[in-house]
């Protein structure tokens, strides 16, 4: 009977593949309480990653979210004009940007910028034996390398999401004003009317979960980098692919959870 054997082998490989990330998450979870110690926060490194993940990502976040809002408004106008309800483009853009596409697009941009950078940086350190050096100095590599990145991402992503939300709504507004002849003040008041704070807060709250997922995936693939010629490149690619997949999965889970509370 070949089939049970192959199913068993598949399950064995699946569990083996799962063991690495689970152990890594456990190790990171065990060092999170260290964040209370000022020395462990490594403010200089945190500031560096805040700049890398936050300030340096801002232009691309603004550009992409603005264009996304624009595209959404154009498509919304085409469809809603068929039933003479163009004004609902404002609701559509506002709701979709705040609740879904703002946080998601920011997370995907952060994946490309920060997730790959984390994997490449830690991977290179592993190849150069810097991680071994940390360990033999009695310093926990996860505490030294993961905490500043995690903290920076937890601070940067929600702020970037707020900027991304604003840029997306602005993109929709440009189409509303130029193509649909809605006055700016009317577009704005309709946006404020149709949305509530919870929509904004629940959308922005997703970015905390995305920050954790992107940081852990990037760092994990850095730590498991193989010390060969393609190792670091492969780690960066794997980090990006895994992060995108996990961000979407987490988004689905959060959306389902939100639906239980009526949002």
């Amino acid at each position: 009977m070949a089939e049970p054997a192959s199913a068993g082998t598949w399950m064995q490989s699946f569990l083996a593949a799962l063991a690495g990330p689970v152990i890594f998450i456990g190790r990171v979870a065990s060092i999170v309480p260290l964040m209370r110690q000022r020395k462990q926060l490594r403010l200089r490194e945190t500031a560096y990653y805040l700049d890398l993940c936050g300030a340096k990502s801002l232009p691309i976040v603004l550009a992409i979210c603005f264009l996304m809002g624009l595209v959404m408004a154009v498509n919304g106008e085409i469809q809603l004009s068929k039933v003479g309800q163009e004004i609902f483009v404002v609701d559509l853009v506002g709701f979709a940007v705040l609740k879904e596409f703002g946080p998601l697009m920011v997370a995907l941009i952060a994946t490309g910028r920060a997730g790959s950078a984390f994997a490449a940086e830690i991977g290179t350190m592993k190849v150069d034996e810097e991680i071994s050096a940390l360990a033999t100095m009695g310093i926990r590599p996860e505490a030294y390398l993961v905490l500043p990145k995690l903290l920076a991402m937890l601070l940067a992503l929600p702020v970037l999401t707020v900027f991304g939300d604003a840029a997306g709504i602005l993109g929709g507004m440009v189409i509303g004003v130029t193509s649909m002849d809605i006055p700016i003040a009317a577009y704005w008041s309709r946006t404020v009317e149709s949305l509530d704070y919870m929509t904004f807060l629940l959308g922005a709250a997703k970015s905390f979960a995305f920050a954790v997922v992107i940081t852990l995936a990037g760092c994990y693939y850095g730590f498991v980098t193989r010390a060969d010629a393609q190792g670091v490149g492969r780690a960066a690619t794997s980090a990006v692919v895994a992060s995108i997949f996990l961000v979407v999965i987490v988004d689905v889970i959060i959306t389902i959870l939100y639906s239980f509370i009526g949002y």
Partner: protein
Amino acid sequence: MESGEKTEILVEDLSIGYGSNVLMEHLNFEVKSGEIFCIMGGSGCGKSTLLKHIIGLYLPLRGDILIEGESIVTADESRKRAIMRRFGVTYQGGALFGSMTVAENVALPLQEYTDLSRDEIAKRVEEKLKLVDLSGFGDYMPSELSGGMRKRAGLARAMALDPRLLFFDEPSAGLDPITSADLDRLILRMRERFGSTIVVVTHELDSVFTIADRVIMMDKKARTIVASGDPVELRDHCPNRLVRAFLTRDGLKREMRDVDVREVE
């Protein structure tokens, strides 16, 4: 300086490898206090892997490693880190943190484990850099240093907390003979000044005969230690012909030639 009688490192029936792949087995040896102990063997036989087991980075397949009487194999995480703080380790490429200056690299262990003020740390860093002849290079980035300088900076960092045990992984790798000889002198100076116990992984014969009190010779095919003792004694009197050949450049060349001829025949 004579080596003492106290056993600093005791390796007992150690087997090392990856998964089911056994690299070396039945390894037994001890390193005495104040001794310079070299781990020798051909490329790929597992010398560096053995070192990484001794310093607690890898877990062995079986056996035990006692550091000053305490097992690093069975120690829990926090105990293991405490044992590791007694070490100074220099890696093949120096393993300096590329985003920090040389001085920041050396200062890192001091910042982590002491309550010294910023000025005191700076003073201590300068002392350590002077010790390895790198005074004035504190503000350099590791990428601006030569290979030999990077290794010396790595040694300064390893010495930051004045460890009793120093480990060197292939200190001569990639260095010219003069720089390599400088590094050997530095290793001897460390022992003379601080009485450190030093373990060196190398296959450089010049280094071995300059610094080693005792060596062990590992063999890839035998998958264990094939000889141990004073390097000069082994070169002249070891019953194992391959060990004698390995420790004699000309002998090794003759051995290789004979092997080639035998293979052709």
